[in-house]
C-alpha cells in the first residue's frame, strides 16, 4: 500500500460527529431519522452535510421513528444504502419493524445512542433500549469510544451488505458519555474508505426487471423456514464480522475482534462489560493490578451474534466472573448480558461462578470505586467458592 499522499486527519470529535463523518464517508443514499435526545446531534450534523453538498443523499424528515425505520427499509429494499439513528423511546417505537427488517434481509445500518427507556422519562445513558431489541435478529456491535463509533459504522456497511449476511446492523454508543464527549478521532483517507466500503450493488429486489413480491404472508407451512433463514444468517455473520474486523486492521491499523481482552491471562476474577462502561472498568482493573490483585476485563464488541466460542475460550478455567449489566430483566435472575453468559457453560461440569452487577441505570454514574467493589466481590467469590448474592444492584440507594 502506497504511503504517499494518504490524507489522514486527526480531529477532536464528539461521538455524534464521528458517527456523522462515518456515514458521510460511506456515501449513503437515503437518511431518514426523527430527533430524540441524545441522538439529535447526529442527524443535525448529517443535515448540515447534505445542505452543504458534502453528502449527496435524500434526507427524509419523517414524522416518527416508526416511519424512520419504515422509510429506510423501503429504501434499502429498493437498493439504496441507508442510515438512521435513534435512542430509547424511538427505538422502542420501531420495535415491530425491527423484526421485519431482519427477516426481509434489509442491510440497514442504525446508530443507537443508548438512553434509558421510560418510565420515568430519562434522557441519560443506560443499555435498556438496545437490550429490549436483542431478539430482533439484528447484528449488535458496541462502541468503546468515539474512534470505535467511526470505525464500527464503516464496518457495519461492509458487514450488512455482505452477500452472505444481508442483515441490519445496530451500532451502539452510550448517550452523552460517548455521544457528546470530545475525543481525538482519526479520520482516514477517503480513497481508502471508498475502497473498503465500495458502492452497494443493486440487488433488484424492488425492480421492474424482476417484479418480485416482497413481504409475503407466511402461514404455518412456511413461516418457520423463513424465520430460520434469518437466524442462520445471523449465526454465520460472526465469520464475516471477524473477517471485516481483521481487514479493517490491515487497512486502517486498528483491528476489531468480537472481544477485547485486558489482563485476562492469569486473572482469577474477570468482569464482563460493554460499551464505554468498559473504559472505566479498565481503570479499576489497572488500579487493582497495581495492588497485585489478579483481575481482568473482557469487553464485548460483538454482542449479537453472541460470541459463544470466544467467550468460552477466555472464561474457561476462570474461577469467578462478574457481569456488568446496564439494563434489567425484571422477574428474572439477573440482567440480559448475565442471562447470555449464564448459558455459556450450562452443560459443563466445570464452570466459573457468576455474579451479576446491575449498575448505571438511567445515567447513574458508575465510578471507578464501584468497579473496584464489583471486582472485589468477584475475587471474593473466586477465593471462597461462594456467591453471596447472584444479582447485586450497585449504586442503588436503599
Amino acid at each position: 500500500m502506497a504511503q504517499a499522499q494518504v490524507q489522514v486527519k486527526r480531529l477532536p470529535l464528539a461521538g455524534y460527529e464521528a458517527a456523522a463523518h462515518a456515514v458521510k464517508m460511506a456515501d449513503v443514499d437515503v437518511i431518514a431519522a426523527y430527533p430524540i435526545t441524545p441522538q439529535t446531534n447526529i442527524v443535525e450534523e448529517l443535515a448540515t452535510m447534505v445542505a452543504n453538498g458534502e453528502l449527496d443523499a435524500e434526507y427524509v424528515h419523517v414524522e416518527s421513528e416508526h416511519s424512520a425505520i419504515s422509510a429506510v427499509v423501503g429504501a434499502s429494499l429498493t437498493g439504496a444504502r441507508v442510515f438512521t439513528a435513534t435512542s430509547s423511546q424511538g427505538l422502542a417505537l420501531m420495535h415491530e419493524i425491527l423484526f421485519i427488517t431482519a427477516t426481509a434481509r434489509a442491510p440497514v445500518v442504525m446508530a443507537v445512542v443508548n438512553r434509558a427507556l421510560s418510565g420515568p422519562i430519562n434522557i441519560w445513558n443506560d443499555h435498556s433500549d438496545a437490550m429490549a431489541e436483542r431478539d430482533t435478529g439484528w447484528i449488535q456491535l458496541w462502541a468503546l469510544n468515539a474512534q470505535e463509533v467511526f470505525d464500527t459504522i464503516l464496518q457495519a456497511y461492509r458487514i450488512a451488505e455482505d452477500n452472505s449476511v444481508l442483515l441490519p446492523v445496530m451500532v451502539n454508543l452510550d448517550g452523552y458519555i460517548l455521544g457528546h464527549t470530545v475525543e481525538a478521532v482519526e479520520l482516514p483517507d477517503e480513497k481508502l474508505v471508498k475502497d473498503f466500503v465500495p458502492s452497494r450493488p443493486l440487488q433488484n429486489r424492488l425492480s421492474l426487471k424482476t417484479c418480485y413480491t416482497v413481504g409475503v404472508m407466511g402461514n404455518p407451512d412456511y413461516y418457520y423456514e423463513m424465520k430460520y433463514q434469518a437466524i442462520d444468517a445471523l449465526e454465520r455473520s460472526a465469520d464475516v464480522i471477524k473477517k471485516v474486523g481483521e481487514e479493517f486492521g490491515e487497512v486502517f491499523g486498528r483491528r476489531y475482534k468480537p472481544l477485547d481482552l485486558y489482563y485476562v491471562e492469569d486473572a482469577e476474577a474477570l468482569l464482563i462489560s460493554m460499551g464505554s462502561t468498559a473504559g472505566t472498568a479498565l481503570a479499576a482493573v489497572k488500579r487493582m493490578r497495581k495492588r497485585g490483585e489478579k483481575v481482568g476485563l473482557v469487553r464485548i464488541w460483538m454482542y449479537r451474534p453472541f460470541p459463544v466460542k470466544e467467550l468460552r475460550d477466555v472464561l474457561k478455567g476462570v474461577k469467578a466472573v462478574g457481569v456488568v449489566d446496564r439494563a434489567t430483566c425484571p422477574g428474572a435472575i439477573g440482567g440480559p448480558v448475565f442471562a447470555d453468559i449464564a448459558t455459556l457453560f450450562s452443560n459443563d461440569r466445570e464452570k466459573p461462578l457468576l455474579r451479576d452487577f446491575i449498575a448505571g441505570l438511567g445515567g447513574r454514574d458508575i465510578r471507578i470505586e464501584d468497579f473496584e467493589y464489583m471486582l472485589n466481590k468477584t475475587l471474593e467469590a473466586a477465593k471462597t467458592g461462594i456467591v453471596d448474592k447472584i444479582c447485586d444492584y450497585v449504586g442503588l440507594r436503599w
Binding site: 421485519i100 444481508l166 417484479c211 413480491t213 404455518p220 412456511y222 423456514e225 423463513m226 433463514q229
Partner: protein, 103 residues
Amino acid sequence: MRLLSSSKKLPGWRELPIGIMNVNPGSSVNYDVASWRTFRPVIDQSKCTKCSLCWVYCPDAAVEIKKVDGGEVFEINYKFCKGCGICESVCPIKAIKMVEEVA
C-alpha cells in the same frame, strides 16, 4: 394453506428465496379458485356485441379476449372464475347467464 398431510414435499429452508420474497410474479394462477363457485357464467356468443364490459368488470380477469378469424371473441376462463355473477349483471343485453355448477 396446503395441508401438512399433503404428499407433496414442501421446500426446506435452504430452498426458499431469502428475504420473505416471492420471486415468481403471478404464480397465483396455480391456485385453485374454480372450486369456490356454485354457479358458472355462460356467454351466448350469438347475442354478444363485444362491448367488453364483462372483461372490464371481472375482478378476477376471468374473461379473456381471444383472437379468432374475423375479430375477437370474449370467453370465460373457468379456471379463474369464482362465479360472482358480476358479468351477468353488467352485460347490457343479457347475453350472459349464471347456471348452476355441476359436480
